[in-house]
Amino acid sequence: MADVVVKGISKYFGEHRVISDLDLDVKSGEFVTLLGPSGCGKTTLLRMIAGLEKIDKGDLFVGGKRYNDVPAQHRSVAMVFQSYALFPHMSVYDNVGFGLKIKKVGREQIKQKIAWALSMLNLDGLGDRFPKEISGGQRQRVALARALVLDPDVLLLDEPLSNLDTTLRDKAMEELKRIHGQVGKTIIYVSHNQVEAMTMSDRIALLNAGCLEQYDTPRMVYDEPRTLFSASFIGSPVMNVFNGQIEHEDDMMGVSTPIGFFIFDKETALRTQSIAGSEVIIGVRPQNIARADHYAARRYSDTMVMVTVELVQSLGDRSLVVGRGENETIIRFLVTREDDIRPGQQLPVFIDGRKIHLFDPLRQTNMLSK
């Protein structure tokens, strides 16, 4: 077990800078997900930690030791590739034992460790099979067993679940979390899937265009997105975004938008007093917009908006409604599936003033975060 410290790391592919001046610290035993859209540099960062990619600028420390010039084969890290990279000509047993053999571990010890790893991942009895003879889920577990058996300080996982179907993925997520609890290894996990990041991580490092957008617990990333990018990347369905201006209206503090004046709750009102009059970008999650007659008691900070329904998409337990408010502004919100809502219908909805996010239109940062 060891902590990982990334200090001001940059990476260039030719002229193109894929990672710029990035700082990240991962505590010993922590499960951190590098989350971001494709091309954001998350896999490159992981490969730099593994030693497969040169660090152009900055420093990397693992367990207090500077790792920049340590070649990959001497680093105490293990990695699971997206493709699993199982050796097709070796049995499951030999795949798992490969690293131990290279490290010249004694034969008896190898046997014990492989047995431990195989049983840890419910692979007992599959030792003699070859990679092509086992299922996708089993391959993924073999790849994980092969990494764990080396007892690395840090475990690097590059989208290990992206080749699995949804049911298997859910199971694999549970299993990964269980294993993390059992072995307590420092895990750095790369994903573009926010569900994986949200369910498993202790902290999420959200990357965009080679920069760290936010580094927080999953809850904080969701509740207090630091940037407009965080806000729109995390959360499903995607957040509603409007342009507006902070204003006073009838003694109420709020923000005027193309679809009406949204009233702030007391706390937000207090904190925005000094910036009254500023242009802002307003973000409201679909989860914080509700059908009017579903609110038992209206709060003063709820704003009613009339919506013309355009599209209803079933999400199973709920439905996503896409509609238009005033000035043809698109607005997305969720209803229960019992609500019989059809396109063309006019519908009053409430916007929860306590859950409004305000972003600086220039710097795209959250104006309310502490």
Partner: protein, 283 residues
Amino acid sequence: MDKPHKGLPVDSLKYYVWLSALLIAVFMVISPLYLLIKYAVSDSSSINTGGSPIPLWPYHPTVRTFLYLFSDRQFYSVIINSICIALGTVFLSMILGVPAAYVLARYRLPGRKLIVLGLISVRLFPDISSIIPIAEFFIRLNLHNTYAGVILAHTLLALPYVIFIGMSAFETIPGDLEQQATVMGANRFQIFYSILLPLAIPGLAAAALYTFLLSWDEFIFSYFLLGLGKISTLTLYLKQKLTYSPPQNLLATISVCLSLPVIMFSLLLQKYMTAGITSGSVK
């Protein structure tokens, strides 16, 4: 709706054209083979017919020429020479070609394209024109009339193929496997030995077989370097017999002996070639 039936006559005409073209092609390939085998098992009365037409199949098929050939001690030594030279060529070409193929397939070498072009340049010229400078060079090095010389010459011919087949064999192996092994602590040599080589075996086996065949039925280089000296190969033996205008059945028998391994190995090769192509598809 069914397709309109008016297309049928055209289709069947097309079918007959294709069929007859195919039959002609098969006939062109088969007839020399048929003649070869026919002569090899002919008795002399079926060859020297004294004016009457030569029969389609010998009157009294016989294996006497085979028996004669196999009782000839020179024939044995010639076959052993050919095998030794072919195996030597395979050995040398693989030793030189496989690492070269690996490097060319896996490293971003400066001037990689130029090196590849240089490799095939030997094969850009007809053998008969490249043998002149090579023979002169080899004679100066006293490599003519030696096993080493002819093996070296055959290696020169085989190396481009070994490198090309080897390169494609290494290229089909996903790079992830190497990187995975690196992260697991393996060095370059261990990766080559325990990951890449076993996975490239089908492709490399094909290259080895091809090299064997190339050396086995090579004539021009052997002829210039060995002449009709002490060391003789099967192809030179055939040429030597030709000079004394021997009966056709003896020539045909030698040819059959020469062709048999080629046909056998080609069938094997086909299987390995296919295996080589699919070996990289394992995910």
